[in-house]
């Protein structure tokens, strides 16, 4: 009996500490993300390459591989352990520079679809391949960024804590999405400014977000196309708190 009580106490303690860590109500010092104001303009940051960002310190954010979601999935070894993040405010915008090592560039240029209805054309745009997936990255933050509430679930938020997701795909471009829990993500149809380059086996992607208050939590994700990443099959960070 005594042993059993002991076990229960310990496991409750464990659960509580896990919840504590997940909510981000009191983030560890290592989980805060410095956001200096930049003297460069938002446009320069978005398009300026390394020069515009060189003054800003890099934060190494650890990435986790999602556990296998389906028994039928091929295994995917963790290939992208971390993400280099820089954040800056400029002209009422919040910009992130995400950079990570990925030896395969999984992106193509899809054929442009003419602006005329397909039935009026003899030749239709073909599907070139059906089995490829593309590199992608995302920044997620709570839609209601009341910094005193607990952070939403890392799994795309939840009903009370909807999230906004700024998603960039190496082939399909940048789009804003919303979600209220796993499998609820929907495209808003809105694009957002983003730029990307791939050099020396590294992606360097710049996201332009609306300004978010200090104390807001943000999380990052990276998808590796060659590992057939899509959906929850990806790399993700825990919540980071903007300084």
């Amino acid at each position: 009996m005594r042993t059993r009580q002991f076990v229960i106490t310990v496991s409750v303690g464990l659960v509580l500490s896990t919840v504590w860590a997940q909510t981000g109500a009191k983030p560890a010092a290592g989980q805060s993300l410095p956001v200096p104001a930049s003297s460069a303009s938002a446009d320069a940051l978005l398009n300026g390459g390394p020069g515009a960002w060189s003054q800003i310190a890099v934060k190494h954010v650890a990435l986790n591989r999602t556990p296998p979601l389906y028994d039928t999935d091929e295994p995917a070894p963790p290939e992208i352990p971390s993400l280099d993040v820089r954040a800056a405010r400029s002209g009422g915008k919040l910009l992130f520079q995400l950079s990570w090592h990925d030896p395969t560039r999984d992106a193509v240029t899809l054929a442009e679809v003419p602006n005329t209805p397909p039935e009026t054309r003899f030749r239709k745009v073909p599907t070139e391949a059906d089995d490829r997936f593309f590199d992608a990255a995302a920044v997620m933050f709570p839609e209601k960024s009341d910094i005193n509430t607990i952070a939403p679930s890392l799994q795309m938020g939840d009903a009370e804590h909807p999230v906004e997701i700024y998603y960039w795909n190496a082939t399909r471009g940048a789009m804003v999405m919303q979600a209220q829990g796993r499998s609820t993500t929907k495209r808003t149809g809105k694009p957002f400014p983003a730029s990307s380059s791939y050099q020396n086996d590294r992606w360097n992607v710049i996201f332009e977000l609306p300004d978010l208050a200090a104390g807001t939590t943000v999380a990052f994700a990276v998808w590796n196309g060659s590992q057939k990443d899509r959906d929850g099959r990806k790399y993700f960070s825990v919540w980071q708190v903007l300084e």
Binding site: Y70, D71, T72, P118, T127, D130, R230, D231
Partner: protein, 333 residues
């Protein structure tokens, strides 16, 4: 489980391999950007590779209640679209023969009429295929977005194009490989059992156009429908690969060819034209009972009797073959 279930029966003894059904479907539903390689309805020669090639061996479906792993078929498996050099031949005066490009290496019925390549006596038959609108659809189960749903009123399985994100778990899960990825839209597409036509009281385009008149359409649980009679009363139609566990709602009357050598007294099972093992591979062991039943019906008519089952299979008119009037959906069954 849906309240009612539309079903189709195809009598393989009557299929001509003319592909009229394929074209009817293609022109109606898959004539848009990105759908070039898609055939929601295809007719393949059996034995043969099928489309996508070797689909019956790739994987998917259920085993012991678990989804089975499967790779995604590639475009090489479906066959890349090709064009002909008509301009050069017809307008530029170049004396080249008309040639396809890129060089075709696979296609939707690539090994048409090749058959068993049996030295003694070749055999083959045609197998038209659409999505089976399964009762236990592996595709639906596999979709993490819940973008696939089975319509409660008629059991038709459809993909919500708003919710689909093109993850393709459904394609991997379907053991019949009857979902296709449209790279242009970034979403998956599949046969919709012509529900917009059914709702207007018109039968599926593939069935309406079929000159072989081998397709029967109706609601499985409607005792008046031909599919109910063929599948549940006469029990002479079986689903394809029942062991894949999805409980298909497309059923086939197996090819019931006469004995190889003209010996009237002989049972088809004694001297089968299509080896029984191959039919068991396609339709499961129950195919033997179906052949016994079909033989008994045939005998009845040969002895001057009347067989309701065979009369139905002849399917003289649309009233016999289809029961799709929209009010059928509301009938009390």
């Amino acid at each position: 489980m849906s309240k009612h279930q539309y079903a189709m029966v195809m009598d393989l003894n009557k299929c001509l391999g003319c592909q009229t059904c394929t074209i009817a479907c293609k022109k109606l539903w898959t004539d848009r950007d990105g759908t070039g390689y898609m055939y929601w309805n295809n007719v393949e020669t059996r034995p043969g590779l099928g489309y996508p090639r070797q689909w019956d061996r790739i994987g998917g479906g259920w085993k012991d209640g678990l989804l089975q792993p499967s790779p995604l078929p590639t475009m090489d498996d479906y066959g890349h679209a090709w064009e002909y050099n008509y301009e050069q031949r017809l307008y530029e005066g170049k004396k080249q023969p008309v040639m396809p490009s890129p060089e075709p290496e696979s296609g939707v019925n690539w090994d048409e009429d090749v058959g068993s390549m049996n030295e003694d006596e070749n055999y083959f038959f045609y197998l038209p295929r659409i999505c089976n609108h399964c009762t236990h659809p592996a595709c639906l189960e596999a979709c993490p977005r819940k973008a696939i749903y089975k319509r409660d009123e008629d059991g038709i399985v459809v993909i919500d194009q708003e919710r689909c994100q093109g993850y393709r778990y459904c394609i991997k899960a379907c053991p019949y490989k009857k979902i296709y990825f449209n790279e242009v839209t970034g979403k998956s597409e599949k046969c919709i059992f012509c529900y917009p036509r059914l709702e207007k009281g018109q039968v599926n385009a593939c069935a309406a156009q079929c000159p072989g008149r081998l397709r029967f359409v109706g609601i499985l649980d409607d005792p008046e429908s031909p599919v109910h009679k063929l599948v549940l009363v006469h029990k002479i139609a079986l689903p394809l690969f029942p062991e894949k566990g999805t409980q298909p709602n497309v059923f086939y009357v197996p090819p019931f060819n006469p004995p190889k050598r003209d010996n009237y007294g002989k049972s088809i099972q004694e001297d089968p034209r299509v080896p029984l093992d191959y039919l068991i591979y396609l339709f499961g062991p129950e195919v033997k009972d179906v052949i016994v039943r079909l033989e008994a019906e045939l005998k009845k008519t040969q002895e001057g009797g009347r067989s309701e089952a065979l009369q139905l299979l002849i399917g003289r008119d649309a009233e016999t073959r289809y029961r799709v009037r929209p009010q059928l959906v509301q009938i009390q069954l």
